[in-house]
């Protein structure tokens, strides 16, 4: 039987101090009107100003070596920053993916030139990345991608299309998974490679896909003979799948898989407190118990990642349970507070409710669907 224990992490006094500093900074920025609180803001809230301000604080790429613009802080310090950003619902989508996975990808597999070129800009909050995995016919079955890269003099020519690309209209680059040798049914995960594609390059067309709310969130990215120089290959040719899977561990276990709807819960608890609604609070606190437990798991995974351990099973568990919890927040709150969810309402709770309900279905899809995650978990425990 697989051991399911995760490390217990207790915050130190310094870390708690640090958390306070971050929180104070965010509260005062919100006070000043730099941003407003929204649900799911790590995915759908864009503010270059906020990203740059966080960069200036040294809170992007903060675990990275100083020579690349990092602060050499611990993964736990970074965890604290991301949690505080989520809890207050700050618009951080612009730099989120670069900080979370593109940067770490370069550190692990990138060349010296790539690290020097990209990491300092990312850490300043000025250089944004999108994730180019999904295609129209390749969602859960990612290994079936058809976007191809062919070797040419000095680089590669990329042809194909990506879809559901969050924020491509804001991003400078897209880490793009391409086929570099023909599909081989005996080795489904072979023959793929990762490229850094400059989204301003010739041959790129970005077309918005309207989100169900009408917002412009994700995109189709068409690549027509896009030239990618050799120095923009990430890691090894043919090793794209393994490298991509390593990214997923970061993607699946973070606090953003638990806290997307936290602003709604916070607002609700405030309201119930005002109403002196003890039975309502009791129900809200049941969610808090789930949240607290998951948070322990998620921090445990962060600790393991720092120690270089394999966390794919644990990360999948966090995402499965965490995203279900994120959805449960809206479903529980609506029974505790009478609301007419509406994005145009004057009442904050109605707006946060509308955002949580409308974005909710995506929580258990993006970054690997619940069904696929459960397959991974089942394989993991059976192994």
């Amino acid at each position: 039987m697989k051991n399911l224990d995760l490390p217990v992490v207790k915050f130190t006094a310094e870390q708690n101090e640090f958390r306070k500093t971050v929180r104070q900074f965010l509260l005062s920025e919100r006070e000043r009107g730099t941003f407003q609180t929204h649900a799911d803001s790590w995915m759908s809230g864009y503010s270059y100003e906020v990203s740059k301000k966080l960069g200036a604080q040294g809170w992007i790429g903060m675990t990275w070596p100083k020579e690349y613009g990092g602060q050499e802080r611990s993964a736990i310090d970074r965890y604290i920053v991301t949690e505080e950003l989520l809890a207050i619902g700050a618009p951080v989508a612009a730099h989120w993916f670069a900080d979370r996975q593109s940067g770490p990808l370069f550190l692990k597999f990138g060349t010296e030139e790539q690290k020097q070129f990209f990491l300092p800009k990312i850490s300043k909050g000025e250089c944004y990345f999108s994730i180019g995995l999904s295609e129209p016919n390749s969602g859960s079955d990612l290994a079936s991608i058809q976007t191809r890269a062919e070797k040419v003099e000095g680089g590669w020519l990329v042809n194909g299309m990506k879809t559901w690309t969050s924020g491509a209209h804001h991003s400078h680059y897209m880490i793009t998974l391409c086929r570099t040798s023909p599909k081989d049914e005996k080795n489904r995960h072979g023959g793929m490679s990762q490229f850094v594609i400059d989204l301003a390059a010739e041959g790129i067309t970005i077309q918005p896909i309207q989100f169900l709310t009408g917002e412009h969130h994700f995109n189709e990215v068409f690549m027509d003979n896009v030239f990618v120089p050799d120095n923009r290959v990430v890691g090894e040719i043919g090793n794209g799948w393994e490298q991509g899977m390593a990214e997923l561990a970061y993607e699946r276990s973070g606090p953003e898989r638990i806290l997307s709807t936290f602003p709604l819960l916070q607002e609700t608890v405030e309201y119930l407190k005002e109403q002196n609604d003890v039975s309502g609070l009791a129900q809200a606190l049941q969610l808090v118990s789930r949240m607290w437990s998951l948070r322990n798991m998620s921090i445990g995974v962060a600790q393991m990642l720092e120690e270089g351990e394999d966390v794919s099973l644990a990360a999948s568990l966090v995402k499965d349970l965490g995203t279900k919890l994120e959805q449960a927040v809206a479903e529980t709150v609506r029974l505790l507070v009478e609301t007419k969810p509406s994005v145009t309402s004057e009442r904050l709770i109605d707006r946060l409710m509308a955002e949580s309900v409308l974005h909710g279905p995506g929580f258990t899809l993006r970054g690997g669907t619940t069904e696929i995650l459960r397959g991974i978990v089942a394989k993991g425990v059976l192994a």
Binding site: S140, I209, V343
Partner: protein, 356 residues
Amino acid sequence: MSEMLEYIVDATNKILKKNVTKELIDASEQGEWSGKLWNTLVEAGLVSIGIDEELNGTEGDAIDAFAVLRLAGKYAAPVPIFETIIAGWLLADQQVETTYQPTSFIMDWESDLTGPEFVLKQVPWGRHVSQVVYIGNVNGRAKLILLPTADAEVKQNQNIAGEPLDDLHFRSIDMEALTQFEVEKEDLAEKVLNIGVLGKSAMMAGAMEQVLELSVFYANERQQFGRPIGKFQAVQHHLAALSSETAVVLAALNYAVASFEDGTIKEELPLAKMKISEAAGAVAGIAHQLHGAIGMTHEHQLHQVTRRLWAWREDFGNEMHWAKKLAKEYVDQNELTLWDFITEEKRGNVHAGSII
């Protein structure tokens, strides 16, 4: 199903299927008035169903009307047909002839309208209706009044489905000159709530049928790992859950509607709305999961129905609202065991109360 009902269902289905397109719903959510659809429905007699011929109605009974609303929900018809039918019934009770004008209604016993200036908050379809039936206190007396909206100033707002939920600001209303009737507060409140709950429940049931249809279609069409996703057991479980939720919702709805029609409706009302509101969220969630990212796009049709489920489940009391009412009723009749409560024919009525 009576022959008449079968005919109505068939005809309504044809009309809505032909006329309610994705584009029409989009345009409505952008603020346009679906005038052509409205006229078609008027001509087919569907907005005046359940009203006697001598009051210019189409005849038919509540069962027919709820069947029409179920289809209106299924196709997400972007017009105030629910509001107009119900407002029409309330007016017909006062012997007011129906006019086929888009009409909204609102019931509020908390405030007191004294005129000449007041604001009606969150009026469904406010910007598009030409009159509002207001049920509530007027100068301290329980009344039903008919307010023409021509001069009202509209502050736009909408629910999560993009349906108008506007504030109407009336500035100089001559209260005396309005069409108005004194009413028996308890009776009318109960009637409005009964038909409101059943009408919305019927619409939700229809919307769930549509969600199921879309899901079955997509499970067959979408291929991953070299086969339709409907071949994966996890997806099959989703389809099974959607089917069972829809079936149980219809069982709840049909029983409640039959009880309304034979005049025996009591706890059937809250029990039905609780089940249907609860199922609405479950069904919407499962369908989105099954559709993957495509279901999260504006281009796909799914959200036009799921957003309506998310909006409508809160209308006329969600499951918690009714559970509390039911709980109170149960406490008040504390000599009954739970089994008595479930099976007893002589239970009291769950008082609707004043808030919808």
